[in-house]
Symmetry: C2
Amino acid sequence: MENERYESAIRLLALLAHPARLRILDILRRGEACVCHLQAALEVPQPYVSQQLRVLREAGLISQRREGLFIYYRLADERVAHLLAEVLGPATVEAPIPHCACPRCQETHLSQSFCLVEVN
Amino acid sequence: MENERYESAIRLLALLAHPARLRILDILRRGEACVCHLQAALEVPQPYVSQQLRVLREAGLISQRREGLFIYYRLADERVAHLLAEVLGPATVEAPIPHCACPRCQETHLSQSFCLVEVN
DNA sequence: ATACTGTATGCAACTCATTGCATATAGCGA
DNA sequence: TCGCTATATGCAATGAGTTGCATACAGTAT
């Protein structure tokens, strides 16, 4: 079928055309993030985040990696980064997220503090 | 609001994530086309085509031009061509459309016949 | 005027994704 | 083993877009 090209494109576009999923992908294009991180950024219930992550995962757009209790997600489809750049512009620097408890965020907060100290 | 960027992107993506609209835009990126032309290509009722054209028009993605009874539509937003190239690949040559009655199609059919004659 | 053709509009019915929430699972530490 | 935290799943209710169809409008020609 020739119109498989259309169907495939539509599946991809429809996945991006969603507030929560678009924000998730926008965060992930800056690098890995755990669920609690995404939850803190979106300010929505955790099951809701997991639900959208499942949709994106089953579509092959993201992949996951477990590290203890935490599961880190990342982009798995390079088309996504291109599309995001097209519709959102280049990736922006991560805005500070109100209290995310994951170890990675703790590190970031620490290193940021250190940076400030060093510069001063 | 910062998330106006997201909303605007979502509106655009959602407009493309639709079988009829995506095909219409894919045809229009090859150049102008009248409604009867699109109708013949999609093989759907004419009111259905006009309806989707209205959606695209009100979103500013396409513009129109009247010529007698015929109304020719064309892309009006250059982001669309970029996005289509991203998700569909480069524009393909127009496949022959089963009997479209508009003058432009008649011309095309004629010139194609002439071409064949010349080559032979 | 009238008839005809190309295109647009309005609206109801239906479909399907979205969302909320209760609950289940997985790993870790005591 | 038990409790705790991070994450996942299932399912029902809601809601928004899609689709079909009857009809209206706009040019053109006779």
